[in-house]
Amino acid sequence: MVDPSWYMTLAAVLFVIGALGMLSRRNALVMFMCIELMLNAVNLTLISAGRAMNDLNGQVATFFILVVAAAEVVVGLAIIVAIFRRRSTASVDELNEMSG
């Protein structure tokens, strides 16, 4: 059996990649993918921790996250498509009308 710390390390790496992508990329679609990456990093953490501790709750939580993420993707993609249709761009730097 592989030591859980490997899974944890992989999850941490995935999360950092997602976070850095989130901060550095401007395309809303790519940023969305980064968010998914971070979510799945967390999922991996939960499952591996659950397995290491012999607890099913980790997998249960992961299923919840998957379902919610799927719903969130539907809404988020729809918004991005709508914005792209209006503005012919998906760059978030050009969508700063909400500044104070």
Binding site: A19, M22, R26, M31, E97, M98, G100
Partner: protein
């Protein structure tokens, strides 16, 4: 007519007012006027029928409950029908009907003809509520309603700034009096636990001590002085002449202003226990009578003379009721309603004929142009001057004789009354001569014309009443006194001295004063204008002071109105604006400023929010790792 039906007396004019309010414009002139007159005329007939048991004698007052309003404090809508209420009702509806009819002619061509009669009918209903009330609460209701109607009617021509200012002044001055009246009612309630006349008057001797009775009496006087234009609250009445003349006749001469006299006469049981309050009433009355009479002498405006004359005659009535000569006071109230209404209506006819000219210096010689008005006004002038056997003589003589009989301090008041009688005769004759005799001093283009019949008939009826009205209570036949007797059972009333000898002496004295006044004015003002102008100049600076009404308005303006305004200014711009508004605006400003400082955080770049979120998450994680949780 049973007492249970008497609510109709109030309801008819009220319905008239309601109907005319909605349909007055549609049915137009003159039908709305006739409708209003019919409403109050029917009230008069009902009251007349209902008063018959009292005229036959022996009948006592009755009350009829209409609706339990606030039974816990004895305040219900109940009608008290006794001789005093009957007499007041007859005066209000009788004189009121005549004035309604007169107004049909006077208001001819006015844009708001229907609205005028709405107000007149509403006033009649309010005044009848006042005099028919069976408790102080309902009386106060009527008291306030007549004040409102007075306000509406003084300001009837509200597009004139002077008229709306006069209306406001009348309302404000009346509020001062009403304040005293309200405190009096509270005192009555705390003492008796009820406001109903029956409950108060029957138990007054056992419940009230002299101090409380005096306090209630004096506070009633404050209210009465406001409504009945006594010193020092009389200043609104001369200004009230801005209203149409029928209003001046009905409200500011014949009926509403006598409400104060009525309240004091009605509350005789309380004043019976407070001789000091009564004496104050009499003294205020005497002062007012003389004060206003001197001002009336020098007025040029035909209506101002009558206004000050009304104030002066109301002073007589206060003198009478203050001397506990209630019958004499109410008697004078009635005769005064006749001849003063006549004088006002006559003045209205003159003003109407002279195309709204009110300055007597620009009149003169109108006798030939309008003989009916001249003769009827002449009768009223002699009546108010106290020339026998006209109405004013009997009532004024009864007042003076009763005051004289009282003796002591009242002897001084008697002399004041006698001087006032002389002055009254003088200024009234001056007015009549200036208007109707001498050479015409009309402005270019004036063409005085006779009054239409709808105006002259009420004048004639009132003239007849001014002649014979006094005969209902002469020393030879005390009809009115017996009529009113049941009202003041068990209360000591001042009577004129017994015996024909005293009557001849006192009557002779007051007739002499009247004749001197009439003769002096006639001799002076019959001559050409230069002559009487120099006569008036001979009295300077006194005449100027009289003509300016002692500058009382100025003095009030400087001592009361200006500080009041200053106080309002300070509280508005010194306290309300900086302190109250300042606190509210200050709180808002703090948060506005805070918001402005925090705004830059919202950059609109998703990246920044994500970075902050991440940083926040890292801080939390670091904190947990450091053993914070």
């Amino acid at each position: 007519m049973p007492v249970e039906m008497l609510w109709l007396v109030i309801a008819l004019p009220l319905l008239g007012a309601l109907f005319l309010h909605f349909l007055g414009r549609r049915i137009g002139e003159p039908l709305s006027g006739w409708l209003a007159s019919a409403a109050i005329g029917t009230s008069f007939l009902i009251a007349l029928v209902a008063a018959f048991p009292f005229i036959e004698g022996g009948a006592h007052g009755e009350t009829s409950l209409l609706w339990e309003w606030m039974p816990a404090i004895g305040a219900s809508l109940e009608i008290q029908w006794d001789p005093l209420a009957a007499l007041m009702t007859l005066v209000v509806t009788g004189v009121g009907s005549l004035i309604h009819v007169f107004a049909i002619g006077y208001m001819h061509g006015d844009e708001r003809f229907g609205r005028f009669f709405t107000y007149l009918n509403l006033f009649a209903a309010s005044m009848l509520t006042l005099v028919l009330a069976g408790n102080y609460a309902m009386l106060f209701l009527g008291w306030e309603l007549v004040g409102l109607c007075s306000y509406l009617l003084i300001g009837f021509w509200y597009t004139r700034p002077s008229a709306s200012a006069a209306a406001k002044k009348a309302f404000v001055v009346n509020r001062i009096g009403d304040f005293g009246f309200m405190i009096a009612l509270m005192l009555v309630f705390t003492s008796f636990g009820t406001l109903s006349f029956a409950g108060v008057f029957e138990r007054a001797p056992e419940i009230l001590d002299t101090g409380t009775a005096t306090a209630i009496g004096l506070l009633f006087l404050v209210g009465a002085a406001g409504k009945s234009a006594q010193v020092p609250l009389y200043v609104w009445l001369p200004d009230a002449m801005e209203g149409p003349t029928p209003v001046s006749a009905l409200i500011h001469a014949a009926t509403m202003v006598t409400a104060g006299v009525y309240v004091i006469a009605r509350s005789a049981a309380i004043f019976d226990l407070a001789p000091a309050a009564s004496t104050t009433v009499a003294t205020i009355g005497a002062i007012t009578a003389l004060w206003a009479a001197t001002i009336a002498i020098a007025q040029r405006d035909i209506k101002k003379v009558l206004a000050y004359s009304t104030v002066s005659q109301l002073g007589y009535m206060f003198l009478a009721v203050g001397s506990t000569a209630y019958v004499a006071g109410i008697f004078h109230l009635m005769t005064h309603a006749f001849f003063k209404a006549l004088l006002f209506l006559g003045a209205g006819a003159v003003i109407h004929a002279m195309a709204d000219e009110q300055d007597m210096h620009k009149m003169g010689g109108l006798l030939k142009r309008m003989p009916t008005t001249a003769i009827t006004m002449g009768i009223a002038t002699l009546a108010i001057a106290g020339i026998p056997p006209l109405a004013g003589f009997w009532s004024k003589d009864e007042i003076l004789a009763s005051v004289f009989e009282r003796g002591g301090w009242f002897s001084v008041l008697f002399v004041v009354g006698l001087i006032t009688a002389l002055l009254t005769a003088f200024y009234m004759t001056r007015q009549w001569v200036l208007v109707f005799l001498g050479e015409p001093r009309w402005e270019e283009g004036a063409d005085p014309h006779k009054a239409p019949r709808v105006m002259s008939v009420p004048l004639i009826v009132l003239a007849v009443l001014s002649v014979v009205g006094g005969l209902i209570n002469t020393p030879f036949r005390l009809t009115l006194e017996h009529f009113l007797e049941p009202v003041w059972e068990g209360i000591s009333i001042q009577h004129p001295p017994e015996g024909i000898g005293m009557f001849l002496i006192l009557g002779g004295l007051s007739v002499f004063a009247g004749l001197v006044g009439v003769a002096a004015a006639y001799m002076t003002y019959r001559r050409p204008m230069e002559s009487w102008r120099s006569f008036e100049d001979g009295f300077e600076p006194l005449w100027g002071a009289w003509e300016d009404a002692y500058r009382v308005d100025d003095i009030y303006g400087r001592t009361l109105v200006a500080p009041g305004r200053k106080a309002a200014e300070v509280s508005a711009f010194g306290i309300d604006l900086p302190v109250i508004d300042g606190a509210v605006n200050g709180v808002a400003a703090v948060f506005t400023d805070l918001g402005r400082r925090l705004r830059p955080l919202q950059t609109g770049y998703v990246r920044n929010y994500a970075a902050l979120l991440l940083a926040g998450g890292l801080v939390v994680v670091a904190w947990i790792l450091a053993g914070g949780l």
